[in-house]
């Protein structure tokens, strides 16, 4: 048995060793930050993404490759604001990798680069906000991606000075493309302003905030806790009196609750990718927002 394992491990080591040059090894916690790291690093970085687009980033199945990458990574690109608090601290601590410990140059948090929504003014347990640092789903406002990209470029330059010029070039290129795209999206999305929508829970807050969509209700006000019968009844009554134009559902959300409410209230469900890879159309960061807007505008002419 032991020789069997050794044989396999040796074979695996060979496979892993072949493509590995002096690339910067990056471990990204979500598909979106992985996509950003690839945009900015190009062929100078090797990006491993911990969660797929359709997985809930709150929980992660432990795969050997994930633990292996945590041990060898030069840079950890995390979302932060407690999005990954269920698994990342343990993984980082047990990795024994000094480079990616919080506070070091190899530890990067997107949430630290922008102002978060729903940040409680004072920290009080009784207020009951789940995320004391604010709502962590910040990537759904493209205006947040710009500052994160800038900070991540600076980090890549600091970590890999030999390729500094490449990173700066790519960073400037991305910033220009991103600014153009934002202008295009905002012009296109103008008719969405003020449209009343129902959300699953708070994970669409940044998108609604950016587009000026009016969140009139949330189906699951507490993530992970099914809504009560009384709450759902009240929701149906409320939407009967003042209807919403659409129900937003993320690709990773279960469809049952949204479909149920859709049937009761005759409100269409709009499936949104939420993340790069969430739908076939969302292949990278730019097409993530293209696809999101196309889907929203298909309902609201």
């Amino acid at each position: 048995m032991k020789t069997f394992i050794r044989g396999w491990l040796a074979a695996l080591a060979l496979c892993a060793a072949l493509p590995a040059q002096a690339e910067l090894k990056i471990l990204a916690t979500t598909a979106d930050w992985g996509a950003l790291a690839s945009e900015l690093g190009g062929d100078r970085v090797n990006v491993y993404t911990a969660t797929g687009a359709l997985q809930d980033v709150h929980r992660v199945e432990a795969k050997p490759s994930l633990v292996a990458r945590a041990r060898t990574a030069d840079l950890l690109v995390a979302n932060g604001a407690e999005l990954e608090s269920g698994w990342l601290p343990i993984l980082v601590r047990e990795s024994g990798n000094r480079r990616i410990q919080p506070g070091g140059t190899g530890y990067f948090e997107a949430a630290a680069q922008v102002a978060l929504l729903e940040k409680p003014a004072k920290l009080d347990r009784a207020m009951g906000d789940i995320h004391p640092q604010g709502n962590p789903h910040l990537h759904l406002n493209p205006r947040n991606i710009g500052p994160v990209a800038k900070a991540l470029t600076a980090r890549l330059v600091a970590l890999d000075a030999a390729n500094a010029a490449v990173y700066q070039q790519r960073g400037a290129d991305f910033a220009a493309r991103w600014a153009q795209a934002i202008a295009r999206w905002e012009a296109k999305a103008a008719p969405l302003k003020g449209v009343p929508v129902v959300v699953m829970h708070r994970d669409q807050a940044y998108l609604c905030n950016w587009l000026g969509l009016k969140e009139v209700a949330a189906i699951e006000p507490k993530p992970g806790v099914p809504p009560s019968a009384g709450y759902l009844g009240q929701l149906v009554t409320q939407l009967g009196a003042s209807p919403a134009r659409m129900i937003l559902r993320n690709a990773y959300n279960d469809s049952k609750a949204a479909d149920w409410l859709s049937k009761r209230t005759n409100t269409p469900v709009v499936l949104l990718p939420y993340s790069v890879g969430g739908t076939d159309g969302a292949r990278d960061l730019i097409s993530l927002f293209d696809d999101t807007l196309d889907r929203l505008l298909a309902v609201k002419p």
């Binding site: 394992i5 695996l12 432990a62 795969k63 292996a68 347990r125 789940i130």
Partner: protein
């Protein structure tokens, strides 16, 4: 070569965790099977989880030892309840365990519904994953397993029914946090089922051989295929267990040994 050693060092903690869990669960599983209470570990795990959630509902700190104390206390209470029901209604003990499982799971939902702190993280507090076992957890479980072994292998006749349930509650509360509920169930039940037709004095040895082989092979397959380790080990143990059962079927007595 350095990558080779890196890979091996990923697997060591997981393998040690698997071996520690096996030491206590293989003999416990034989008892559980013969008493006809195979779902007791799922019920105890849910009760322990309920203890943690309830403690946080009362505003108690739920990090570190606080959570352990809450989980342990709840599991012990559940174990004592099951000892009592086995005495009063032995003929429906398995059904009562099923009811306890459902009650503990739904009580978590009810407690969380009124807890403004919500809690997807809380729910997962007791769900271990074999690949991110910490050294601290391993040490804690090693001590517990040593204590278990002394009690079980030296004084099993003396501990009685209460002793069995209490021991079970403590061991399972620790192991669920170490390797997760699927592996706990599998390590408990599969070796017992695979070897129940073998001679009594060989069941333990065969059971240990099966679990050790399964953790080794399962982790190796998980590395090669890069699939989640817990699920791969569960399937490896089930398949190897079936193989063991069929291969030793013709020899219910230790004749060929």
């Amino acid at each position: 070569m350095s990558l080779f050693t890196t890979d091996l060092s990923i697997l060591w903690p997981a393998l040690i965790a698997g071996l520690l869990v096996s030491i206590s669960h293989v003999p416990l599983g034989q008892q559980v099977l013969s008493r006809g209470i195979v779902f007791i570990d799922l019920a105890i795990a849910q009760v322990a989880g309920l203890g943690v959630i309830a403690a946080s509902g009362f505003g108690l700190p739920i990090e570190g030892w606080g959570a352990q104390a809450a989980a342990g206390t709840a599991a012990l209470a559940g174990a004592l309840l099951l000892t009592w029901t086995e005495r009063k209604r032995p003929e429906v003990q398995e059904a009562l365990i099923g009811i306890l499982f459902v009650l503990a799971s739904t009580a978590q939902i009810l407690v969380l519904a009124n807890d403004p702190h919500g809690g997807e993280n809380l729910k997962d507090l007791l769900a271990g994953q074999i690949l991110w076992v910490s050294t601290e957890q391993l040490v804690r479980t090693a001590v517990l397993t040593a204590l278990f072994s002394v009690v079980w292998f030296l004084w099993r006749e003396k501990i009685g029914r209460i002793g069995f349930y209490v021991l079970f509650a403590v061991v399972v509360t620790a192991s669920v946090q170490l390797v997760g509920v699927y592996l706990v169930f599998t390590t408990l039940i599969v070796p017992a089922v695979a070897t129940y037709r073998n001679a009594a004095n060989r069941q333990l040895v065969l059971g240990y051989a099966l679990t050790i082989g399964s953790y080794l092979a399962g982790l190796a397959v998980s590395v090669v295929t890069d699939l989640p380790s817990s699920a791969v080990i569960v399937w490896t143990m089930a398949l190897l267990g079936l193989f063991l059962h069929l291969a030793t079927k013709a020899t219910p007595r230790p004749a060929e040994a």
